[in-house]
């Protein structure tokens, strides 16, 4: 299996390389469109600042390449955010796979520290969380009540073997609100999208490459996707 990691100006890409190697995969780190388009799997990881990252991707025409990928793609952390429509970070338009706008966390109490950094529990027991709008979530739906809004009891293939409450590692100041493509949620200040899925595009806000055995399971699932 040929696994490619998109090479661009974001940090912490080597963690993903190491994590894949631990699973027995030798990934290629590349910004060559032909290599990316022909890979069996593409990962779009990284930490960084959105405006700079989007600028770099556009300059190297990688945004177009990403839009045209047909194989399973996994966006991680800023990779998830850049696959959305727009982000408040640097007020920049992004790649636009997901019909969602990335927002900055607004702390409400002293305990609400931004960036959100550390381990947090996931909720994955729903293929699609049936939510109409972010406003509905913030104003009317508390995290506990979200359960009642789930209509599909299935777990997305990305989360096979992962249970509600399993912990994964997050580092972020911006978040993707709940939307129709949400496949896992986390709760920090408010419930938000911990993972998204649409067509061949999968994303995690957290870092599976840093999330111990649970993270390894998610990466293994990604490699096994049909």
């Amino acid at each position: 299996m040929k696994v490619a990691i998109i090479k661009y100006n974001a940090g912490n890409i080597y963690s993903v390389v190491h994590a894949l190697k631990r699973l027995g995969v030798e990934p290629v780190l590349t910004d060559d469109p032909a290599e990316l388009l022909s890979a069996d799997r593409v990962l779009f990881p990284g930490q960084g600042e959105a405006r700079q990252a989007m600028g770099y991707l556009r300059e190297h025409r990688l945004d177009e390449v990403i839009r045209n990928l047909k194989q399973p793609v996994l966006g991680i952390c800023i990779g998830q955010q850049l696959l959305c429509r727009h982000t408040e970070e640097g007020d920049v338009d992004c790649i636009g796979i997901f019909d969602a706008d990335v927002k900055r966390f607004c702390p409400e109490r002293h305990e609400d520290k931004v960036p959100c950094m550390g381990w947090n529990g996931l909720r994955v027991k729903s293929e699609k969380l049936k939510v109409k709008s972010e406003k509905l979530i913030v104003n009317e739906v508390k995290s506990e009540e979200l359960r009642g809004n789930e209509v599909n009891e299935g777990v997305n293939p990305l989360f096979q073997g992962v249970n509600d409450g399993d912990y994964v590692y997050f580092v972020h100041s911006y978040y993707v609100p709940l939307c129709t493509d949400t496949i896992a949620t986390a709760n920090y200040i408010l419930p938000y999208s911990a993972a998204l899925h649409k067509d061949n595009f999968y994303t995690c806000q957290f870092h599976p490459e840093k999330s111990g055995a649970v993270g390894e399971q998610i990466l293994r699932n990604f490699l096994k996707l049909k």
């Binding site: 940090g11 190697k21 702390p107 111990g212």
Partner: protein, 242 residues
């Protein structure tokens, strides 16, 4: 893990080092045991002007699947760049930041706040005044703990790793009074360090010290406290843990 010459060591009040194994193997063991983060400090780097071994960092990054922080001897951006490229998730700065506080701004502007842990070694005198120390607790400064921690936050530090020199290695609990004052007055996470000797000490630093995380070394290295048991205990005390 305090690392000297590629080996993990743990001092008592910063002297009398005892060996506690290979940092990479130990790191893997702890990640499998359920540690949430690892910290590797090259404890002699600052004193002897050495740089942290990027080679060890690469081996750690290839081996462990949880976040880890590396510190010791970081004086400029290229040190940070090298360590992050070797696979570290965060760097901790201590003496160099006290000597030149702009280092914190530089790191956070280039790599983001989440990368920058400011480690502070401080000692409380008989009047209750906390003073920051340089070079692994060897040289006192003019800086007070609370005002320096505040400045570090203002300059963009993502976390404060506070080691009480009075408590370190003594195993009678963390410096919860000072920790609480830090945690309640700052808006960034505070990691408690120095003094862990029993499971109750961890509970106390979360409940009384308002710490966001607790760090310990020798009680784990010598098997006095096992991480799975510690976590089970903390859960039973109503503290949220992974």
């Amino acid at each position: 893990m305090d690392v000297k010459d590629g080996q993990t060591v743990k001092g008592t009040n910063f002297v009398n080092l005892r060996e506690a194994g290979d940092p990479v193997e130990l790191g893997k063991f702890y990640s499998e045991q359920g540690a949430d983060e690892l910290v590797f400090l090259d404890i002699t780097a600052s004193h002897e002007g050495r740089k942290t071994f990027a080679e060890m960092v690469s081996r750690v990054a290839a081996t462990v699947n949880i976040p880890f922080t590396v510190g010791g001897g970081i004086g400029e951006l290229k040190d940070v760049d090298r360590l992050l490229n070797a696979g570290a998730d965060k760097v901790s700065v201590n003496s160099a930041a006290l000597r030149r506080p702009e280092l914190i701004d530089e790191i956070t502007n280039h790599f983001g706040s989440q990368v920058c842990v400011v480690a502070i070694d401080a000692h409380e005198d008989e009047q209750g005044q906390w003073t920051c120390y340089l070079n692994g607790g060897r040289i006192p400064t003019e800086r007070g703990l609370f005002e320096w921690a505040h400045e570090a936050q203002e300059r963009g530090a993502g976390e404060i790793l506070f080691t009480s020199m009075n408590h370190d290695g003594v195993k009678t609990g963390f410096a919860n009074e000072a920790l609480r004052r830090l945690s309640d007055s700052l808006s960034i996470p505070i990691i408690a360090s120095g003094g862990a000797g029993a499971k109750e000490h961890f509970r106390d630093t979360f409940l009384e010290g308002h710490s966001d995380a607790a760090l310990a070394a020798s009680v784990f290295h010598f098997g006095e406290i096992k991480i799975p048991e510690l976590k089970k205990y903390l859960k039973s005390e109503g503290i949220t843990v992974r």
